[in-house]
Symmetry: D2
Subunit: 361 residues, 4 copies
């Protein structure tokens, strides 16, 4: 049994563990004020081409989202995101628990457009009773999205423009950022994020770290008092060095990008195997998550040797599932999987895939 159900089934990249072991006896101050964290911050700023950016290391994605959003909004304000947005779906109401509504925009694929955001905000303010409604006051996007897709630089620029016009911040959740950076289709680089977002974060947990997300705040004013908020949300790790050491390791020799690339390469091989075996996909993902659509027989057969996530039931005995790769996915494991996909689909697959006729071949 091999697990492809998510990108956090193994531990941490060995170089991270090495670094932790090597520095273990050193004494440092707590709460992120150690020199490892300071070094990691500088490297990340350098990677983003923005020396005056503020970087804070938090422990997980929900914590990062909650802390950033709660610190930015006034009580009557809401955050806007896609209906598939992690904050809308999978954080047990953490955003609402800080007092804010999550306004969801309909989305076919997990992305939202500048036009949608503009329309949402215009509709709010043109409503005569808008003071009776939560005010949309921040835009949240994921990159890659929860559906494995990525924004183009032009799409981000368009969102930026609307946010500027409406004077609201753009917040990018990069829990899987490495897999966007590692995608061949990607044209959004670290420096672009630092220019186009008000706040974004670089996911460690799902890209080779034990745990940790690097929250990057791109302007001085938004950074004011941010450490109080981290503490209030339980994110000020006593032994904060453990976050600094991990991010230093991920960023000092390009490891982060390498991990992203390797995982995406394996994911593309899996994608090709499903496609050439006649499978459609729920989303046409260029990143480490793949969402092939399987019939019941193929699904049952593959389940015998692999674990993967059931994503969505579809009409006609079809199910969209998720296979995720990570830094730890070995080529030889994928070789075996590909073999099994091809064999299984040959025997149990539909001859005429038809669920989603407009999927690119």
């Amino acid at each position: 049994m091999y697990r492809f159900e998510c990108d956090y089934t193994e531990g941490a990249h060995p170089r991270i563990l090495d670094a932790l072991v090597k520095t273990n006896r050193e004494q440092t101050p707590g709460y992120g004020e150690d020199e490892f964290s300071e070094t990691a911050r500088k490297i990340i700023c350098l990677a983003c081409g923005k020396e005056d950016m503020h970087v804070h290391f938090l422990m997980g994605g929900t914590q990062a989202n909650t802390t950033v959003i709660a610190s930015a909004l006034r009580p009557h304000q809401a955050v806007v995101c896609a209906e598939q947005g992690h904050i809308a779906v999978h954080e047990s109401g953490a955003i609402e628990a800080t007092g804010h509504k999550v306004i969801t925009l309909p989305s076919e694929n997990g992305k939202i457009t500048a036009a949608q955001v503009q329309k949402c905000i215009d509709a709010h303010f043109s409503d005569a009773t808008h003071e009776h409604c939560p005010q949309p006051a921040m835009v949240y996007i994921s990159h890659p999205t929860e559906t494995g897709l990525i924004y183009t630089k032009q799409e981000l620029r368009d969102l930026r423009r609307v946010c500027d016009e409406k004077h609201i911040p753009l917040f990018l959740d990069g829990a899987r950022l490495g897999y966007a950076l590692g995608s061949e289709e990607n044209d959004v680089f670290m420096a672009d994020l630092a220019k186009l977002c008000d706040v974004f974060y670089i996911g460690g947990t799902k890209v080779g770290a034990m745990f940790g997300e690097a929250v990057c705040i791109c302007n001085e004013e938004r950074n004011r008092d941010f450490r109080y908020h981290i503490k209030q949300h339980g994110g000020l790790l006593a032994k904060g060095r453990f976050l600094g050491i991990q991010f230093e390791t991920l960023f000092k020799d390009g490891l982060y990008l390498d991990l992203g690339k390797n995982a995406v390469r394996q994911a593309m091989r899996i994608k090709d195997a499903f496609r050439s075996s006649g499978c459609d996909f729920l989303y046409d993902s260029p990143t480490n998550q793949q969402f092939p659509i399987l019939n019941g027989a193929v699904l049952e057969e593959l389940k015998k040797n692999y674990s993967f996530s059931i994503w969505q039931e579809l009409p006609g005995d079809k199910t969209a599932v998720r296979f995720a790769t990570s830094w730890a996915t070995r080529p030889e494991t994928v070789d075996a999987l590909i073999n099994d996909i091809k064999k299984t689909c040959r025997i149990y697959g539909d001859k005429t895939p038809s669920w989603s006729a407009d999927m690119p071949e």
Copy 2:
């Protein structure tokens, strides 16, 4: 320069790192549903002599406190603690951020008594306008306290009795629990905590782990839906195994208790050195934190080679400071410190310590 400022200046105990390295390539499900966590839970239940106890691994103390308290209280209810209580003082308003007042009881030394709690609750309900006041509905104590002291079993029993009479839960913050268990004066064992508390937690971060606190919920009803709360407060670690592995390591061969004992032993040596050099103490602590009172000259002299915390300014050029030991404190470092304490106090110390005449010799 050697750091005695807190008990989280180094990394993690080597056996913990070893265990992390050794298991790193294994694949597990996420969010604490892995077998390492399951094993750790069982070992802790065994150590507490309570098989049906529920154990959850969270990432830090503020997160543990917030999650436990917010999950237990209704919106009009408050938690009662000593004025020195961590939740009252050093969590950036995390409890209030979940909507609850922290009612503080005056305390000379960081402990509160059953009589105080009873009086507080009686005063509330006997007030004709009590519906206009937050209702005291949970008792929070730390063991050891923030001042290094420990509760006796009888004191805990008395608190338990009042809580039973008033139908409110008793919650014990054991962020430094190992240093209570490791103290020669201690008569409260793990099994006592499981019997006398509704909820308590076993601190890992400050007792040798990288990070992590094991929240133990002693009755079925209080455990209902607790994992939702963990998730909402950002505590459901994707790679939850990292918590399980650490706690398994700490508890399977008695390592946790050993770490506590060793740290307390070194702390007692430091205490003796200060005492025999004529220093008084702010609190008479039997655990890993020591609070000697220094005059300005001694303080300045010791600062040259050691870092420690300034705790409280006192009248007459006196300052209470804190020295903390940990699993990582080496006897030879303490040898050197003791030497320096004795020499410094001989030269710069006051001949007639007098600040606190009623301190036990």
Copy 3:
């Protein structure tokens, strides 16, 4: 210019003002502990055939909704309602401000069904990651709905059954309850509400009172400590007698029902006038709010002499508007309006209404 835009354009029914004036010099205790409030409570319990019901007088609808919902839910729980539900749309995020997500169910007409609620809850618990999602834990309905419709007794019974099966409370917002009770189509009486709901409230503000809603809690346990919550949400009026006197007046001689009936009678006359003039309706409302669909010319013409609410833009130069009647709507004003409707539609109306072919004639 006559205002039909809502049901709170005038002051209070004269008998209410009389009662306030007559009792003005009497001295009473504050905060709802006066004898007027006590009498009003008893009369309402009597009207509901439930002596042991708890009745609390709050000041407005948003306050009532917020207080009831926040007092009933634990932090990880959410309330379920129609997408048009007042709490989802028009309370400036008041529910989220207390920490809870509002889960909306799609609805054509503002009502939700027992089957929808059951499906929503089943979907939650059958999701393997349900602990990562807010838990649906209360059902909120409005009666009449924000769209003027009413639930049948059978529909309420079905909702009750699902709530019982799922062990969650049913909460009915009766901000316009008088207009349901006053409708000829209604088969849900006060005693039914007391039997079928866990909590409901009787709207005063929109049915002839100056302000005030009577929250009725149908079981002992849910009532525990409720007054703390009222106070916390700013609803414990110092001169609480003003609420008691108003509700005593509304309920002691059947005034509440009379006001409802009269307003609905005038609304039905308006409905008939629009229908016989060839207008369709957005909702087929049997209560005091009517939602005719007008073309641009008719709308502009009617706006010259009447104010009414723009409800929804529709395709093809059509607009759904809202006319509301109240206790204060005089028959002669409605005579004039009807005349104007008929005349205007004759001149400017469409010959072949077609937007909503399946509306009942």
Copy 4:
């Protein structure tokens, strides 16, 4: 039995009821956008000599406090007040329910000084771990205080200066403002409040209105989006006219000041009676609340004919009680009370009052 227990035992001043009755059939828009409210706002601005002040009418004191404080603070910030402050003591944790700690300063008499505030803020920022503590970010004072005392203009100026230096707002709770304005010792006028406070409110409920507080926001920026907050806290009254009409009546002919003066005049007569009968006072109040200290016998005797509040138990069979007057207190009732005080004290009083030797004669 005559009630002196508080200043809200009767209804509303007759001129207010008259105005409500007279305007009852007029039609107005809802939610405070009517012309009565507009007129009332203008009159209040005029009375404060500040045309560009923003005035909002809310329903009660707890609601006003919660709305103002929650709208002004970021999540990590706290409000500072006297330990007797209403928000700290008697609002069922309403401020904490919005996420904020209430930091209390010790106070003998319910007032706080500029020096105390300065020290509190300085202590916070000079603490190396201040990011672990709630940040003091607003000053809340009551005028008159809960103890009946008033601030002098110089005291307010000093508080203003500290607030300016620390860049934090000064918020004044004037729930009983009329009784400060009506006191002979008062030197703080409406225009002073508009100059020295960031936000203050003018209490209606306790000074002759049925209910209602006029929140005055003295600068443009703080007013931004304030109506959303009012709505979120349930304070946007559908029939908002009822607040406008009341405040118009209170302010258009100086009624508010007259009511304050009359009540204080009667309170001073009561004070003189107690003093000349040998009673001490808990606080030397120049306003409508009086806090004489009675022995058990006098207390029991007076209770036979009057109700008053038990304020504080004191050593030696002494109890501080509260007598409050209001717009409705008739001179002849006070005549009778004075008679009874004198008679009772002559028979049952202590010859040598001694509890508080330093009270002014």
